[in-house]
Symmetry: C2
Subunit: 154 residues, 2 copies
């Protein structure tokens, strides 16, 4: 599997085992090097904006001391929600490699699909920038999350 | 003018004079009481995700020790970008009172309108929740920002 997606899955798994939030880990890569990573901390930080992608963007920006991630790509276990799509655009990230789809987020209890509908979002114009990879490995991660007990929903 | 929008404008003005970022301040209100506020810090914190709305949501969540702002409204100087619309949905905020429009964000150098088009966003389904108020006062704030020298664009 893709080496960067493997790191994103490891980040996500660390997060769900710690009770930080959903099974969402993200890695920011520039010129073949990881410049930032993060995972969902909505529950542990009481921060509804701390999705994996946003945590990773903030980490990468801190590491390179810039608000501009031009030339970087993101690898993320779940297809980004509207908030994270917006964050990716503001950060000037180029390509989005994701594992599980928005519909699969829904199947494990997250509201992304409803929010896509609320805002009538279509990512058709960005189709060359949003690419699904390593679906099976990310499905396995989602299954691990679904089977955990005592989860806090958000 | 609306007392909460006045606080949002004061937040935004504080931010632009400090060089923190764009003229965007936000206030979270629940049961008639301000529970959080914030302003854009994209430049000063090198954080492309730190828009006024997100800064205010994070502040409110910290103050009430929860990731759930159900029953709260947001007052914000500029119509929210796609990222902030998503953040508002995740935080379960009800109504969005804004001053200047997405088109006016564009006129002072911000890319919100392009991002709405990238994602084909329409807020029609949320029209009962997105309400423009105090336009003139927010236009004055935007004008102050436009006239500032030595701004950092993002």
């Amino acid at each position: 599997m893709n080496e960067f997606m493997k790191v994103a899955i490891d980040e996500a798994r660390k997060g769900i085992l710690a009770g930080d939030g959903g099974p969402f880990g993200s890695v920011i890569v520039k010129d073949g090097v990881i410049i930032g990573k993060g995972h969902n901390h909505v529950v542990s930080r009481n921060d509804p904006t701390c999705h994996g992608e946003i945590d990773a963007i903030r980490n990468a920006c801190k590491n390179i001391n810039s608000f501009d991630l031009s030339g970087a790509d993101v690898y993320t276990t779940g297809e980004p929600c509207p908030m994270c799509l917006g964050a990716i655009l503001w950060a000037n990230i180029n390509k989005i490699y994701y594992g599980c789809s928005i519909k699969e987020n829904d199947s494990i209890g997250f509201r992304d699909e409803i929010f896509y509908k609320n805002l009538s979002i279509s990512t058709k114009k960005m189709k060359d920038r949003i690419i699904q990879i390593d679906h099976e490995e990310c499905k396995e991660l989602f299954k691990e999350y679904a089977e955990l007990n005592n989860k806090t929903s958000y």
